[in-house]
Subunit: 406 residues, 2 copies
């Protein structure tokens, strides 16, 4: 059984690092606050007698050896970095939950066949260095070490420079390679579970996602003397295109998600008809074929709308991550455990990407979700019920113990 | 008769100051380039025997005394500042045309009853210090001296600091007060005259304009897990509102102009549903009552569209300048002169604001427009035909001479 009080102490300690006035945390990847969180994590691992390894991506591993050195390890964990003024549980719940599972095993002097590894991944959020989950992406072979090391924040500082500065540039031979399984506990970041009155969710897989940058080029004109009908207004043309796409997606009434989070006009002054608009699009769907269809339809709608106005449109691909189905075996194991405990555990897809996406390349993978109050995340207002967190860490413990002796 | 060759030399000298590779000028108000242009202007005024005065707003006046010291002066001129990478004729054509008229009168040893004043206004563009035509606005009593002196550029430097730095903070007693008339020659900055195959235009008045900042507040959400139908997306809501307004304005098929030149989303990342959108609107019409109606209708449409989505909308007023009708007497005088010269001179409204707007508070005012090729302005590609410039300066000279002896 896990120790409620110790778990609470872990959260108190970590929530204080980069704490924001609104009750959240501001702990950008590889910042001084992230270093502080990492140092504390390493110290707690040492206290629990775990062996600590750091790889050249800055990932931190806490290792409790199993009795069979030949058996592939079971890995659990998540990330300690946050978005700017983010929530206190996003990522942290997965790392601290894993720490509590380790502590429980140590306390009970449990031995197990497979080695247990607790992990904290570098730069999951992609908020400071703009590629999310790049450290697990390198482990999966989707990105190169160079892709990650050379990634820059807005000031031009690279990940490698910051890893060196905060003393977390470890050795490539410490990287995870073959694993038995990876289980990540995380907050849902959406309203599904809370609306279902559930206390935990079992994640079937992750939506595929596709990110694009779009540029519309029309003609910049003076807002005063240029007649409305003669304009080639890149801004209004882009707005027409995006509202058309939204109508289309709403009418589908399915799992498709479409978002424009960035939108900028040039020259960007009150009295100039914008000659240029640049915006991002984020398209998601749980099925790969459908996602590809949606991308094609949406791109076509955007091009057509630009052309209708004599505006040039260019679209470039930023990221594509295909949908990831999680392990049926682990899902069934989690179903068994929750039903033995009489916990209602609905299944859902994750709309958000997680390190589990890439870890699924290395072994069987599952995620457990904790309900997010109001579905809010990436925000100081993010909140979850403490009893749900305790329940989820408990389920995680049972699931891990089963895998360790499989 | 004006001297074509001398006028060309004036343009050559000024176009070289802040010249951009694309054939334009970059001469932001009170920058080193603006100082260079001012110094040259003062030097040329001295060469022509004019008395030079600088007021505490940095306006430069070149004065040729009339025979009747009691008679109110006739003022001509425009501005030497430019927008970033702007056109070489915007503003400059009004100052250099005025200089050529002065030079012609000096050459011919013409005496006249009224005093002639050639003016260069400070910060007409409002590009560096974000209030256009503020110097003439202070003369008109629409802004206070403090409004102008404390106005800051993006780096926080004030107009007063820059006036002192470049040595153009003159004396308040040098300001223009009572004038007989003000005549400003300028490029059209729109396509009307070029489409009419005209070589000059007589300006009946200036559109009223109204600038607003709008803020939409919805709910920021994660682009992945938040279902489409539950969102309160401030960005798409604003886009729907603006496209509706555009449809409305296009359907009016009248002189109404509507522009959104600035549009920003927060938090402004690819994978966040924007909880906030901020944008500007610029509404123009030549008639005050109609302009007020349009503003009201458009504000209502924007509010309704926000409300429809559960998004909060707030609108703040940035600037309101009522339409300005120009002097009928000067318009008729210009008609007479052009028809004597057999020049077709269509009449039009200016969609853009000019110092003439505020100068109309001090005396009878008129503007003459030179056609803009392709209607382009505020851009290095701005161009006008040299023969049209010569024609316009010639008409200006005749019109001025008539007023000087009226
Ligand atoms: N969990 C999370 O916020 N991941 C970032 C990548 C995404 O947008 O899904
Ligand atoms: N002429 C000119 O560009 N004036 C600036 C103010 C406006 O937007 O009309």
């Amino acid at each position: 059984d896990i120790n409620n009080e110790r778990l609470l102490q872990y959260f108190k300690q970590f929530s204080a690092i980069g704490a924001t006035p609104g009750g959240g945390v501001h702990r950008l990847a590889l910042s001084d606050e992230d270093k502080q969180a990492r140092d504390l994590f390493v110290e707690l691992l040492h206290d629990l007698g775990a062996e600590v390894k750091i790889d050249d991506l800055g990932n931190i591993y806490g290792i409790k050896q199993g009795t069979n050195p030949e058996a592939e390890p079971v890995v659990i964990g998540s990330h300690l970095d946050s978005v700017p003024n983010g929530g206190k549980y996003d990522g942290a719940v997965g790392v601290l939950g894993a720490l509590e599972v380790l502590a429980t095993l140590v306390d009970a002097e449990t031995t197990h066949q497979r080695t247990l590894i607790i992990v904290n991944f570098t730069n999951e959020e992609g908020a400071r260095f703009p590629k999310p989950m790049i450290a697990s992406g390198v482990l999966a072979g989707v990105y190169t070490t160079e892709d990650m090391h050379s990634l820059q924040d807005e000031s031009g500082t690279t990940i490698r420079e910051e890893l060196e500065r905060i003393n977390y540039l470890g050795a490539p031979e410490h990287r995870l390679t073959n694993i038995d399984s990876f289980i990540e506990l995380h907050i849902e970041q959406g309203p599904y579970l809370i609306n279902e009155n559930a206390h935990i969710g079992l994640v079937q897989g992750i939506h595929g996602l596709s990110w694009h940058d779009v540029k519309f080029t029309g003609k910049s004109d003076h807002a005063g003397p240029s007649p409305m009908k003669d304009r080639r207004d890149a801004g209004l043309s882009a707005m027409h295109a995006l509202t058309r796409v939204e109508d289309y997606v709403l009418n589908l009434q399915d799992e498709t998600r479409f978002t424009t989070g960035r939108f900028q006009l040039a020259p960007g002054v009150v009295n100039a008809v914008p000659g240029e608009a640049r915006f991002s699009i984020d398209i998601r769907h749980p099925l790969n074929d459908t996602l590809k269809e949606r991308i094609e339809t949406i791109q076509q709608m955007i091009e057509d709308e630009a052309a209708r106005r004599g505006v040039k449109s260019e679209m470039s691909d930023l990221s594509y991550m295909p949908p990831v189905p999680f392990s049926t075996r682990l899902l069934q194991a989690a179903e068994r455990i929750t039903s033995q405990k009489n916990i209602d555990a609905p299944q859902l897809y994750s709309g958000a990407g997680h390190d589990a996406m890439y870890m699924s390349h290395l072994g069987e993978t599952l995620m457990l979700f904790i309900p997010s109050l109001d579905g809010v995340s990436h925000n100081e207002q993010e909140e979850s019920r403490w009893e749900d967190i305790v329940t989820a860490v408990d389920v995680l413990g049972d699931l891990v113990l089963e895998q360790l002796n499989r």
